[in-house]
């Protein structure tokens, strides 16, 4: 039986999520034994034509050309999986979505006419059907491996959508917000990073985006009680997942 064909695609991004695949140092050669890496520009100059069994898509849609390209990727892919905050929520570059565009363009630039860009940075799912979204800025390589394994086996990947608080409780990490009054997005952020920030004495800053059914207004009220100004609360939601609807709505309510 032919090996399933994997393609990796890049849109507007930092390359960190596709790098996470190459960062699977212990598993990479085994993965390559199980699947045919048919299109992965960052790693290989060999390019095989589609259709592809699995497409991993990194990055957000920010140019007219991207809009055409992602449609072609979709047509050529049986399963399309988005990896990382750029692909699932528009990424840090979606901060332009909140800018007064006129003011932005007024920032003098030598030759603005050379640049082609869209007004907004969109998630992939705003343009084509996505079969699974893997969160994170960057994605967790453990979740990435689980996702590839599950897809190859034809089962649902085990990627919990509970909050970061659950990770803290399971890991026995003392709550930084309760114990030290450190602002933390954990209560509204999806788990999956591996309990990184609170275990380093830092509040979660939302790399994995909104959890399922979050309640940001309740958290914001608490953040205000901790002494955060409105602008600070707004910017807290407005980073790598600024374009995720739940975070976008909450940040806008603090303008």
């Amino acid at each position: 039986m032919a090996k399933p064909k994997l393609a990796v695609w890049k849109f507007s991004s930092c390359d960190g999520c596709q790098l996470s695949l190459l960062d699977c140092e212990d598993e990479l050669l085994d993965i390559a034994g199980q699947i045919d890496i048919a299109h992965f520009l960052e790693a290989t100059s060999e390019i095989k034509n589609g259709p592809y069994d699995i497409s991993l898509v990194e990055g957000s849609i920010t140019t007219p050309h991207d809009v055409e390209r992602i449609r072609k990727v979709r047509e050529n892919s049986k399963v399309l999986i988005t990896i990382g905050a750029c692909a699932t929520a528009g990424g840090i570059q979606s901060l332009r979505n909140f800018a007064d565009v006129k003011e932005f363009t007024n920032i003098v630039y030598a030759h603005p006419e050379y640049i082609s860009t869209l007004e907004k940075s969109d998630a992939i799912a705003d343009h084509v059907k996505v079969d699974f979204e893997l969160r994170g800025c960057p994605v967790s390589k453990h979740q990435l491996l689980e996702l590839i394994t599950a897809t190859l086996a034809g089962r649902k990947p085990y990627v919990p959508n509970a909050s970061q608080c659950m990770e803290c409780k399971r890991a026995g990490t003392v709550c930084v917000m309760v114990a030290k009054g450190t602002p933390c997005l954990g209560p509204v952020t999806q788990a999956g990073c591996g309990n990184l920030c609170p275990s380093h004495g830092r509040g979660c800053y939302g790399c994995f985006g909104p959890k399922e059914n979050p309640n940001p207004p309740a958290l914001s009220a608490h953040l205000s009680e901790l002494g955060m100004a409105s602008r600070e609360v707004r910017d807290f939601y407005r980073s790598f997942n600024a374009g995720a609807p739940e975070f976008a709505k909450e940040s806008t309510s603090h303008e």
């Binding site: 363009t105 640049i115 940075s121």
Partner: protein, 429 residues
Amino acid sequence: MSERILQVDALARVEGEGALYVRLKGDEIEKVEFRIFEPPRFFEAFLQGRDAHETPDITSRICGICPIAYIMGASQAVEQALGVSVTPEIHELRRLIYCGEWIQSHVLHAAMLHAPDFLNLHDAIKIAEVNPELVKTALRLKKIGNSLMEVVGGRAVHPVNTRVGGFYSAPDKAKVKALLPELEWGIAAARDVAVAFSKFDFPDDEYDYTFVSLKHPETYAIAEGRLVSNRGLDIGVPEFNDHFFEEHVARSNALHGHMKDGSAYLVGPLARYANNYAQLTDAVKETAALCGLGEVVRNPFKSILVRMIEVQYALEEAARIVRVYEPPKQPFIDTPPRAGEGHGCTEAPRGICYHTYKLDAEGLVTHAQIVPPTSQNQPQIEADLTRVVAANMDMADADLQWRCEQTIRNYDPCISCATHFLKLTVERV
């Protein structure tokens, strides 16, 4: 006269989206372009109004391969603007995590992205089919770099434990010490890989580059120093904009960096090696000699060897720091807001990466400028392409194209990095 066009619409084995275009008429080169079409992400525009303490985390997202370069450059610049300086202990920890970034980034490029060029193979997986031990060794080396970043920074891509003023928490002593056996294995392994790569058949090419790098009086510069060149430049980091300028050209979503006299210059491993060779350790110099390298390397195709030599150096440095590591009692210093201006510059794996910020009294960013290494190298990459094409006119198109791609990959160009300082124009569709 016959026209020849070499065109690669999407370059492989580079970070980000770039293209190559060469047009020849007979023996005359009409056009050589290394085009960057990675879409702009406007970091400098949206940093305005953000709290300066957010700049390391936000700018780290410019590049998933060299986040430390952005975290450190931004932290340094903001600390200068706020009028504070970190303790020697914090500085050593920063150097340690930076060694991790050099190791993982250099091994990724040298062994997995660049070596295939010399072996006429498409990728590292293909190398593994003929020489599995080499690829396994490279992966193990790369993992050491990532482990260092995880232990010190909490995560390999976009670390979370770093901040303006130092680190959120002191890395665990036992975990840091546990890195030592692998670091010691890695020192010998990096030397062996460098020597193995030195047997490659290198294209005959030399150029008298202007090498620009940091220089530090006591150590091989990584995270601090003055800006120097092999032609007598010697300036403090805040003077960067007095000596270098950037130009916007139609074919590229990245600005091109030039010296003020308009000439191209080179940043990265070859420049550091040439300017700071004397500060390498004896063991590293011995590896260089085993690889047949002198004190200056002017053949850009041999940058792969210099990268592996820097990997060995970074492993030795990391081992040195790990051996004497004691967790600092204060992992960070206080950084209260104030108005100010600051500059930061560090040696990213691909060369100097410059940041400057202006802050208002609340500590909010009013101006940001970031100059990554690849945009500085872009004019030199095009000059190299022109020279390589001129010297190899008799090659068949496919071979010449491969050689041109290899010429670009000599620089380990990080195209994702290079595009991020453009301002926004809007095209409505």
